[in-house]
Symmetry: C2
Subunit: 353 residues, 2 copies
């Protein structure tokens, strides 16, 4: 267990067995903790190159926080929402939370041997990475439902934290929680220092992101909105109240589900939104359609050397679900959303560089 | 329109017609605004008589905020949840939001004349208050679904704010938003001054409570959890994004729905919870079952003179849905939940007294 994601079923099982023996780790999950310092605008975004993207952020904060400015927003109304995967941290080649779900399949197969003969679990257990990468969305959803439910919320929390502490990204050999974009962490801190409440609005499961949002992003669990499975209130054998995670989707927080989820959990329109894919399109539209100062930004993955290049940067069409399509790029141009070029706008990408 | 709720359909229609002509009122909804002052523990609860209920609140805050105390809770983890109806404001004889729904029936009947011949709308339109009071829960739910949906969230907000500004409680002839309990407003302010995030967790619709929560309770919309109807993202004819309220219940935030809703929207267990009925039982159990300092309190309506007496104060059994039943009273005794006697523990009930 020194960095690599295990490649075979045997390795995975060994990993999980070992993890089961470990105490729950309470150590900080990430190297980067939310800074309590209040940055001034001149040094607020040190990892950003000068350019229209950085300037748009500075202008937005200046307009909304200056009482003399006609676009001033009272501090208790300042809301900014951020997609996570591809916007705040790396989403390639596989979403971090999807890796968690895949890693849980061998554990579950031990408990329920019938899964071993059932697709898509059979493919996952085969360890054939190419076959796994080709699984359609419907199969991934089946895996998500099975691996994230049938346990109490406390058990889910303990399992998830163990995995987060031990799992390593295959390229950088680091915990997933270190693969956050330093320039975006600076934006989060800068907006909070200027009275904005920062929210994550993720298509992935909110219960998972809530396990590390405070340590990694400085965002408390209650400011994480995401896809949500139902929980059921019940009592353990000792009479203690428990919440059991059920295989029933309450909120699919992708596409139109993002503004819908924002209404459900926040109850008002954000002033600023950040995304990187078609899954964020409606959130940016909803944010952009409000009165006063608006900031809608898209992260463009165009840096094949330091991270990845995909979407419009690769000449497309890219039809992968939830990516930065040419249509989204065109809408961004029409509506004056700011596109952030990772290659040109970001001086550094990760804090460990 | 000088104080009374209109008694007949004609009056109701006149009221609504008149309201339709008014501009949306942006004036503060309540006389009491959330104080920014930090009260010291000695004068933090001036409307409370000395006694075990007041002492329990003071002890809880002392234990959780003193770093030297073994029950200390870091400030970013301090969460307190409050039921609304019967806990923060008057719920008798009819819930405020139910009055809103009933008042909307004549408006809707104008738009959809077919409703006039359909029950339970026919009964509501008859203006027969006794018959209306006898409508079963299922009929009330039908009324809620029909009157709160089929419009955009912006339209809902405008309509609701107009009603709140104009409607008057039949007994005190005051806006519903003034019928908040002064001692509970002091608890909210006191907990916030000591680093607690205060939440409303209501069985009624969260979209409605969010219209006035900031002005009345000092609680922002995103800290209101309640029963929630789905919204659907769509585009108006001019292309502007809109959210349409749909007749589909996403969360029934009563009974077990309260801890389930808390998990969905807050994502962690509260340290303190306040309620007054069986609808709050599971929330208090869930809060009480956590580690460390816990505060679970129930408001007992035992003051027929200054407010109302119902539940155990009236000798029972009281089988009305969502009241303080003998079984709940027994559970409170067993689990050492604190029962607040309105008659004995509260020096004043309303700020206007």
């Amino acid at each position: 267990m020194t960095g690599n994601i295990p490649r075979s079923v045997v390795d995975r099982r060994a990993l999980i067995s070992m993890l089961a023996l470990l105490p729950v780790l309470s150590a900080p999950l990430a190297a980067i903790s939310a800074s309590a310092q209040t940055p001034t605008s001149s040094d607020a975004l040190p990892s950003w190159n000068e350019g229209p993207a950085k300037q748009a952020i500075l202008d937005f904060v200046r307009d909304t926080t200056d009482q003399a400015n006609p676009k001033f927003v009272p501090s208790e109304q300042r809301i900014a929402t951020f997609d996570q995967d591809g916007t705040l941290w790396v989403e390639h080649p596989v979403y971090g939370q999807m890796m968690y779900c895949l890693d849980r399949v061998p554990v579950l197969a031990k408990q329920k041997p019938a899964l071993k003969k059932l697709e898509p679990f059979k493919t996952v257990l085969s360890g054939d990475r190419e076959a796994i990468a080709k699984l359609p969305l419907r199969d991934l959803e089946k895996i998500i439902l099975v691996t994230l439910t049938g346990m109490t919320t406390d058990e889910f929390e303990a399992e998830g934290k163990k995995w987060l502490a031990a799992a390593r990204d295959p390229r950088w050999k680091r915990p997933y929680t270190e693969l956050t974009y330093q320039p975006m962490l600076e934006v989060l801190t800068y907006l909070r220092a200027n009275g904005f409440k920062t929210y994550i609005v993720t298509g992935f499961g909110q219960d998972f992101v809530r396990l590390y949002s405070q340590q990694v992003y400085g965002i408390p669990p209650e400011q994480v909105v995401g896809s949500a499975l139902a929980v059921k209130y019940d009592y353990a054998k000792n009479g203690k109240p428990i919440l059991i995670k059920e295989p029933k989707l309450m909120l699919n927080d992708n596409d139109a589900g993002k503004p819908e989820g924002i209404h459900l959990m926040i109850g008002r329109r954000p002033n600023a939104s950040f995304g990187n894919s078609t899954g964020d399109q409606q959130m940016l539209e909803y944010t952009g359609a409000g009165e006063g100062a608006r900031l809608s930004m898209l992260v463009l993955h165009d840096d094949a050397t330091r991270e990845y290049a995909y979407g419009p940067a690769q000449g497309l069409p890219d039809t992968k679900v939830g990516t930065f399509t040419p249509a989204l790029y065109a809408e961004a141009k029409t509506k004056n959303w700011n596109v952030i070029s990772m290659k040109n706008d970001w001086k550094t990408i990760f804090s460990f560089e």
